[in-house]
């Protein structure tokens, strides 16, 4: 429908009538494994590939998922004319979420920053001790928005760490939940300047032809 006021002249980029709903699946893997595409034919670094040494872990039943940026913003204020500009610096990008799936322990222990899991059937044990400061993860979060056509987007974070202190909530009559989880991506200087924190991708053959 054309606007009665008339559209702006010249080349336009119209907004698509496609909407995303719900949380993505979130997977993480040891940073040391490196991305599957390093880089791909377009020069982008992304995707995980699990190995025996570097498993890919799925974040089970995530809720309240949000992607948050930490950007330092400072106005360039000139006392004689006012704000002439704003200087911005990206500090980090974080997935904030809670989860309701506690098992298996070999995934949970990374979310809570616990020790290695030892299994002797029928038991599994993990210790609560010092937190490793050298453990980093790469993160892959795909979101399918058309299941039939197989259209999806994905977010890849290059070098992240579980930060903040989570809370294990144990309510009566409701599922246990770990809230306050934050997977914060830092600048990975081994990646190109335009991808130090990661990248977004989209696959949609009907639109991107």
């Amino acid at each position: 429908m054309a606007l009665v006021t008339g559209s702006p002249a010249g080349t336009q980029q119209a907004a698509e009538d496609i909407y995303l709903e719900g949380a993505p699946n979130i997977y993480f893997q040891d940073y040391e494994a490196g991305p599957w595409y390093a880089p791909d034919s377009d020069g982008f670094y992304w995707q995980l590939s699990g190995t025996a040494t570097y498993n890919v872990f799925e974040v089970g039943c995530p809720v309240d998922v949000s992607l948050v940026e930490d950007i330092t913003v400072n106005d360039v204020l000139c006392d004689n004319v006012g704000v002439k500009d704003t200087i911005q610096q990206r500090n980090s990008v974080s997935f904030n979420f809670s989860i309701k799936s506690f098992f298996p322990y070999q995934t949970l222990r990374h979310l809570l920053k616990y020790g290695a899991v030892t299994e002797t059937a029928p038991t599994q044990k993990m210790g609560i001790g010092a937190i490793s400061s050298t453990q980093f993860w790469q993160v892959y979060a795909p979101k399918v928005y058309d299941q039939d056509a197989g259209d999806y987007i994905w977010i890849y974070l290059a070098k992240a760490k579980f930060v903040e202190a989570p809370t294990v909530e144990m309510p009566f009559g409701d599922a246990w939940m770990i809230s306050g989880l934050q997977l914060r991506a830092f600048a990975d200087t081994t990646k190109p300047a335009a991808q130090t924190f990661g990248m977004w991708g989209r696959l949609d053959p009907s639109v991107i032809t």
Partner: protein, 99 residues
């Protein structure tokens, strides 16, 4: 033959007689056929072999242990909980055979 020569002869004779006979012994060693099995999970795993009762220990994902071939099949069948919460990924086995 004087006395001394008699003695020498006798002792030589005796030595010869008392020399132990060399016998051939065959040492019986039970040879166990083993295979190398790699842990695919990010954890330490201790398993008692279902057939032999031997104890095996893997220290971390990717670690390899020699396993009695009699215990191999049961080990390779070992899986975690097959029910996935959020996608249709089938729960993968704990171990794989190292070729």
């Amino acid at each position: 033959m004087d006395k001394r020569s008699d003695f020498q002869y006798a002792s030589k004779h005796l030595e010869k007689k008392e020399k132990p006979v060399k016998r051939k012994y065959t040492k019986r060693v039970e040879e166990v056929e083993t295979v190398k099995v790699r842990l695919l999970k990010d954890m330490n795993v201790n398993v008692i072999g279902k057939v032999t009762g031997k104890r095996y220990s893997w220290q971390g994902g990717g670690s390899v242990v020699n396993v009695d071939i009699l215990d191999k099949d049961k080990l390779l069948e070992k899986r975690g909980n097959p029910v996935s919460c959020c996608d249709d990924v089938v729960n993968q086995p704990y171990f794989e055979l190292v070729e």
